[in-house]
């Protein structure tokens, strides 16, 4: 990709030569005015370049900026340094556009001016750096050597670590070099690079040169901190033990870094285990420079390594820290002990932690069978079930993990109610959750109270949303439902955890195995969901069966949930829907409903245009397979259909349900499995 040359000024060196000559004839009195003018023109040129932002590179024309800088060279009475300044800017503008020759030629002009040597030397560096940028490293190196410029920096730019190392060492080994130059060379050794993991080289360099540097300035030890963090902490205990004494002697070591070093030493001691760990932990536990949490952590390590639980309990009891910090100290101590390989002691601390800051008991709600369960938002609002305490729950558990929970609701562990939170303007948001089931399926209702519902309904205030999960028991795939308030529609297949198979079905709006409604109700919003038993015909619940459900309401004040989700999709913190009131007769009634659905599904599946029926097609199917496997199956299933009557007996319902319904419901899957077995048998037959 090239910049359009035609849009750039003629070769600059000619213009510059002309301008330099004219400037040389000018008078000096305008000196300070020129400085200001140069700055102004320089800013204008920069602005002209900046104004190109957003265009394609090929459309970015620098000629206006060049013209502006050219004006600076025409200013009357420019001094030598002022000319240098302008030429530098012009050269740099060329260099920004990778117009290397023009840039070099421009910088070369500086050298012909009557200016101090340091400015000419700077011009040499600029020229050399252009070579470096151009990829002509050797020419750059030669110039750097010739003009005694900073070769270390050049090698760094060129990415030549070996040469840089050699140059640094040459400076370091030169006893006559100034201290500042030697320190600069030392800190630019390749082993200090962020990408270098050569700790052996680093240690060798530090051990050889650092003591002398520290004699002049002890805080130079802090240069080691970055490597201590990247190469030592959590990675290399030996490096930690080696580097820490040097760092700890630095007078300007911050308390924060002091803590980092001490905790790294504790971790390093853990890697040695035994007495070393105890000694380090004891030392830290009484170290006044450390904060209370770190000291508690260390004290707990000492206490935790013992068999008796009392010292641990005593340390926690005496802690003046907030619960979250105390809990963190216990967790850190357990981790330290575990990393020492002492699993029993680490596990004891883990058990203590779990006992002291237990997760809330699993939430549950009773789902009762009733004949006329509410079937939409309106019927739920009118239902007496809203006053049934057992089938009612609240979304009152703050979303977030245990430590966050402790941090945010420290008082909650002391028994305070956190069910309601207030936003900045005093709105109370409570969410009630209700459930019931009937012959058709499960009905779930969430009532989201919101005193600012009117604003939400108008769209002037965010209403939040619901995130819900539902699983028909352990080891079963779960569904995810998301609904915005006030009117969010749920896509029941928006997040799929399993594709359909003979024992798993996805809820669907199309086949009405799922229905939902979200609308405004008095004082807030109602969200209703229905899940048909068809989805679960092979795992129907009985009394006491627990299915899993979680609903997180994302409010303007954060997330609140039924189960206490520690993070999203956090299945272990879902709550339970516990079924109740399901008599054998009611279960049979449920099965009766399913039988009719199953027959309907079966009839649709065996049509000649569907995959099952298609096997009979003489061209597109496989009549031999159909005759051998499909037709006999359909014959038997068709015969079973004859049993299905509006007034069929309960016994027939049970029989058909257990033996025919699974095949009616899943006919395509079953025929596909038959087909796979058939083809495999054919392919593995003979020889």
């Amino acid at each position: 990709m090239m910049i359009k040359k035609s849009k750039i000024l003629p070769p600059a060196f000619a213009v510059v030569a002309l301008l330099v000559a004219s400037v040389a004839d000018a008078q000096a009195p305008n000196q300070s005015a020129n400085v200001q003018q140069i700055e102004a023109l320089s800013k204008e040129a920069d602005a002209q370049v900046a104004a190109l932002a957003g265009k394609n590179l090929s459309d970015m024309d620098l000629s206006a900026a060049h013209a502006t800088l050219a004006k600076a060279l025409q200013l009357p009475g420019l001094t030598g340094p002022e000319q240098v300044n302008v030429l530098r800017k012009i050269g740099q503008l060329y260099q920004r556009a990778d117009q290397f020759k023009e840039a070099r030629d421009t910088f070369e002009k500086i050298k012909s001016l009557d200016v101090p040597d340091h400015l000419k030397r700077e011009a040499d560096r600029l020229v050399a750096d252009v070579y470096a940028a151009e990829g002509r490293g050797q020419e750059a190196i030669e110039l750097y050597r010739k003009h005694k410029l900073d070769l270390i920096g050049l090698y760094q730019k060129l990415g030549d670590d070996d040469a840089r190392q050699a140059e640094c060492m040459a400076v370091l080994n030169n006893a006559d070099a100034p201290d500042a130059q030697r320190w600069s060379a030392f800190t630019r050794l390749p082993c200090w690079d962020w990408r270098s993991d050569d700790t052996a080289a680093l240690r060798a360099a530090v051990e050889k040169f650092m003591p002398a540097f520290l004699e002049k300035e002890p805080n130079r030890a802090l240069h080691l901190m970055r490597k201590f963090e990247s190469q030592g902490i959590g990675k290399d205990p030996a490096f930690v033990r080696w580097a820490a004494p040097t760092l700890l002697k630095a007078p300007r070591l911050t308390d924060q870094d002091y803590r980092k070093i001490k905790s790294a030493l504790l971790a390093a001691a853990a890697s040695s285990g035994g007495d070393a760990l105890v000694a380090e932990a004891k030392s830290l536990s009484s170290d006044e420079r450390l904060d209370d949490e770190m000291r508690l952590w260390a004290r707990l390590v000492v206490a935790g390594l013992g068999e008796s639980p009392e010292p641990v309990a005593a340390a926690v009891k005496e802690s003046v820290l907030p619960a979250a910090q105390t809990a963190a100290a216990v967790a850190n101590a357990a981790r330290t002990i575990l990393s020492s390989g002492n699993e029993p002691a680490g596990r004891r601390l883990e058990a203590f932690y779990d006992q002291t800051w237990p997760r809330p008991a699993r939430a549950e709600i009773v789902c009762k069978y009733i004949d006329d369960a509410p079937f939409d938002v309106g019927s739920w609002i009118a239902s007496p079930l809203l006053k049934d305490k057992k089938s009612t729950a609240s979304l009152n558990r703050p979303y977030g993990d245990n430590l966050k929970f402790l941090l945010e609701t420290d008082s909650a562990v002391m028994g305070r109610n956190t069910s309601a939170e207030k936003d900045g303007e005093g709105t109370v948001e409570r969410t009630d959750f209700h459930t019931a089931c009937d012959d058709d399926g499960i009905h779930l209702f969430l009532r989201a109270h919101d005193t600012r519902a009117a604003e939400v309904a108008r769209g002037t205030l965010g209403g939040g949303s619901f995130e819900m999960y539902f699983a028909p028991g352990a080891h079963q795939a779960y569904y995810t439902f998301l609904a915005d308030l006030p009117k969010g529609k749920i896509d029941p297949q928006g997040f799929i955890t399993m594709y359909e198979n003979p024992m798993f079905r996805l809820p669907s709006l199309e086949n009405e195995t799922f229905r939902t409604q979200t609308q405004a109700v008095e004082g807030g919003f109602g969200l209703y969901m229905f899940l048909s038993w068809e989805l679960f015909y092979d795992k129907l619940p009985s009394n006491g069966t627990r299915w899993q459900f979680e609903s997180i309401r994302w409010t303007r004040n954060g997330g609140y949930s039924f189960g206490g989700s520690e993070s999203v999709h956090n299945r272990s913190s879902f709550g339970d829907i516990v079924f109740d009131g399901l008599s054998p007769q009611q279960l049979t009634a449920i099965k009766r409903t399913i039988v009719f659905s199953a027959v309907k599904k079966y009839r649709e599946a065996k049509r000649s245009t569907e995959p099952v029926g298609n096997w009979a097609d003489p061209v597109l199917g496989d009549p031999a397979f159909h005759a051998a496997k499909v037709a006999p199956l359909l014959e038997r299933l068709d015969a079973a259909v004859l049993l299905v009557k509006a007034d069929m007996s309960d016994a027939d319902v049970e029989k058909v349900f257990s033996e025919a319904v699974p095949l009616w419901m899943e006919l395509p899957h079953h025929v596909a499995a038959l087909r796979a077995a058939y083809l495999q048998d054919v392919m593995l037959a003979g020889e």
Binding site: A97, R335, A477, I496, Y499, S542, E566, R571, L620, H669
Partner: protein, 634 residues
């Protein structure tokens, strides 16, 4: 017909309908009445069982404290023994689908299993293909040796035992939503996942709910809750699986799954090979598992775009290049494992900031491992350019991009002789950023390079015309998204990602998501996020669990069921490609029968519902159609 007669007929018919062959799912839920039935049958089945060890085991269950599930399983197995043929000894087996939604837990009766049936495999030359079986023992057996024997065909050709790779499926603790999603969880559940040669590499303590890694002589707890987790380095020397399957322990009354992968080389002669795997417990008779392998008379092509048989289908995974030195002993085994599992486009893992000697090593390793060298997908800009918001890119930003593009062009020309390399810059950026970055992508294109950005809807809306590689956030069933990208006419490589990310242990789910589902939707790339190298602890990280498809060790990778599902998913697309190629040949022939046969094959493929179709059946159907079209072409 009188109603009673119909009813009796139906009942007799129904008795034959419930076949265990045709049921499979994540786990079976038995209604209480059926469990009670099995418990009632226990004493009868004890009387009828003749095999002494099984009889003794069943007798031992006749006390009230025995868990219902244990009795249920024992009775079901005993019924299978009664109905089927078996030799003496405590072991029976069930042939089960290798790639399935079923969680084969120790107490999960294999509802989809075939009792004591042969293991059947049909595969093309130069393909890996799995089979699986479950063992059940009536006695505690400590050291059971499983030995695959060589297989022979009728002509006496041999499929050597070395091409039969047998592993035990380790059931261990994973996050509480294991098998179902990539999100982390504070709890743990037993999940079948690891494919091990030495099952003691990981010890599972069911009393405390813990996983332990065995590193030499010591054990490390690797399932601690996040706040207690001590990072475990899987590259620790000594932490590696065995080379050969070690003797396994069978607990009485429990099911244990094994995973067999057969590899037919390019040289393997087509035909039907038969042989057996022998399970030999100490002090008891051996149990033989017959194996039948059909090697097909063709090789599979690499997958091609569903819309264009000339365009390669890209198969890669984000972050899959190992972050190891090429000199590390695990480096090349890892690359070879990735390639053998059908990860086709990966590497070289080197860029402009890589020291030249290291870059050369990585390129060499990439080529040696057999990854495709055109297109290259994993290139990146050497650093961030511009701001992270919508502030327009400046002249200097674009010059930086221009220099980087020039250097990248030179890099790829030097190592690969072309610039067909996708360079990513940014990830899931917001719409204003996408808008302002169009000039940068133009620069890459001007240098002959390709662009790459993962993200949402607005990447299409605001920069679709600039994109050459685009993982689009969503599901592989999103045919609408795939179609409109292709309608741009840029031949961009487009894949789904994120819904779901990797993480599900379910091999059937992984196979479908990374195979025919996306293919049938019109995507032409697999590029999901991510291939994570650990950690081994599912609870070690927040929000997302480790998106691991195969676990790192000091000697390479430990495979998983999901990783095998990935390989099968890509193989499904390779079969579909083969079928389409043959169909295309037929369609362009001058023989109407062949033309129709080609069209019929394509019509059939077009009719498949990627979300619901039975992948095992479809695979065999594709093979059958391939053989038919091949026959017609003669």
């Amino acid at each position: 017909m009188k109603r009673e007669v119909v009813r009796d007929l139906c009942m007799s018919v129904l008795a034959g309908l419930a076949s265990p062959l045709m049921l499979w799912a994540q786990t079976e839920v038995l209604p209480p009445e059926r469990i009670a039935d099995y418990q009632r049958h226990l004493s009868d089945i004890v009387q009828r069982t003749s095999e002494p060890l099984h009889k003794a085991y069943l007798q031992s269950l006749q006390n009230a404290d025995t868990p219902a599930i244990t009795v249920t399983n024992a009775v079901r197995v005993a019924q299978d023994i009664e109905a089927g043929k078996r030799g003496p000894g405590p072991i029976v087996h069930y042939a089960v689908p290798a790639i399935s939604d079923v969680m084969r837990l120790p107490d999960a009766y294999p509802v989809d299993g075939r009792f004591n049936a042969p293991l059947g495999i049909v595969l093309a030359r130069d393909e890996y293909e799995p089979a699986s079986f479950v063992l059940y023992s009536a006695a505690d057996l400590d050291q059971v040796t499983l030995t695959p024997g060589e297989l022979k065909n009728a002509a006496g050709d041999v499929l050597p035992a070395g091409q039969l790779d047998l592993k035990v499926v380790k059931v261990w603790y994973q996050g509480g939503n294991g098998w179902f999603s990539y999100f982390t969880d504070v709890g743990l559940e037993l999940v079948p996942e690891l494919l091990l040669k030495d099952e003691s590499l990981v010890r599972v303590d069911r009393q405390t709910g813990s996983n332990y890694a065995r590193v030499g002589e010591r054990e490390v707890w690797i399932s601690a809750p996040r706040v207690f987790d001590v990072a475990f380095d899987p590259y620790t020397p000594g932490f590696a699986d065995a080379e050969q399957l070690q003797p396994v322990r069978l607990n009485k009354g429990e099911f244990k799954q094994f995973f067999l992968t057969v590899h037919a080389t390019r040289d393997t002669k087509p035909g039907l090979y038969r042989g057996a795997i022998t399970a030999t417990p100490q002090g008891h008779p051996a149990h033989s598992l017959p194996v039948a392998v059909r090697v097909l008379p063709f090789e599979l092509p690499l997958p091609k775009s569903p819309a264009d048989l000339q365009q390669d289908y890209v198969v890669t995974l984000m972050t899959a290049w190992p972050k190891l030195s090429p000199d590390h002993p695990a480096f090349m085994p890892t690359l070879r494992n990735l390639r053998a599992h059908n990860l086709l486009h990966l590497g070289p893992g080197a860029g402009l900031t890589t020291p030249p000697d290291l870059a050369a090593k990585q390129v060499k390793a990439m080529k040696e491992a057999g990854f495709q060298t055109k297109p290259i997908i994993g290139g990146t800009m050497p650093g961030w350019i511009g701001t992270h918001d919508g502030k327009p890119l400046t002249f200097d930003d674009l010059m930086t991009a221009n220099r980087a593009a020039r250097d990248l062009r030179d890099f790829y020309m030097k190592h690969f002789g072309h610039t067909d390399a996708a360079i990513s810059h940014g990830d899931e950026q917001a719409s204003p950023w996408v808008v302002k970055t169009r000039p940068l992508w133009r620069i890459l294109n001007e240098h002959g390079l390709k662009t790459n950005l993962a993200g949402h809807e607005h990447v299409f809306t605001k920069a679709g015309y600039t994109m050459d590689v685009h993982p689009t956030a969503g599901m592989p069933s999103d045919a609408k998204s795939a179609r409109r990208w292709h309608d741009i006419g840029s031949a961009a490589y487009v894949s789904f990602y994120a819904s779901q990310h990797n993480g599900s242990e379910n091999p059937s789910f992984v196979r479908r998501q990374h195979g025919l589902l996306g293919y049938l939707s019109g995507f032409n790339m697999i590029n999901n996020y991510e291939f994570a190298y650990g950690p081994w602890n599912d609870r070690a990280v927040e929000l997302y669990k480790p998106m691991v498809l195969a676990y790192p060790t000091s000697a390479g990778l430990v495979d998983t069921l999901a990783w095998e599902g990935f390989r099968e998913g890509v193989d499904d697309m390779r079969y579909a490609t083969k079928l389409k190629q043959l169909a295309q040949e037929a369609i362009t022939s001058d023989n109407l029968d062949r033309i129709y046969a080609g069209r019929q094959a394509r019509q059939w493929l077009a009719s498949l519902d990627g979300e619901r179709v039975d992948l095992n059946a479809v695979r065999l159907e594709m093979i059958q159609k391939i053989l038919r079209l091949s026959e017609l072409s003669k």
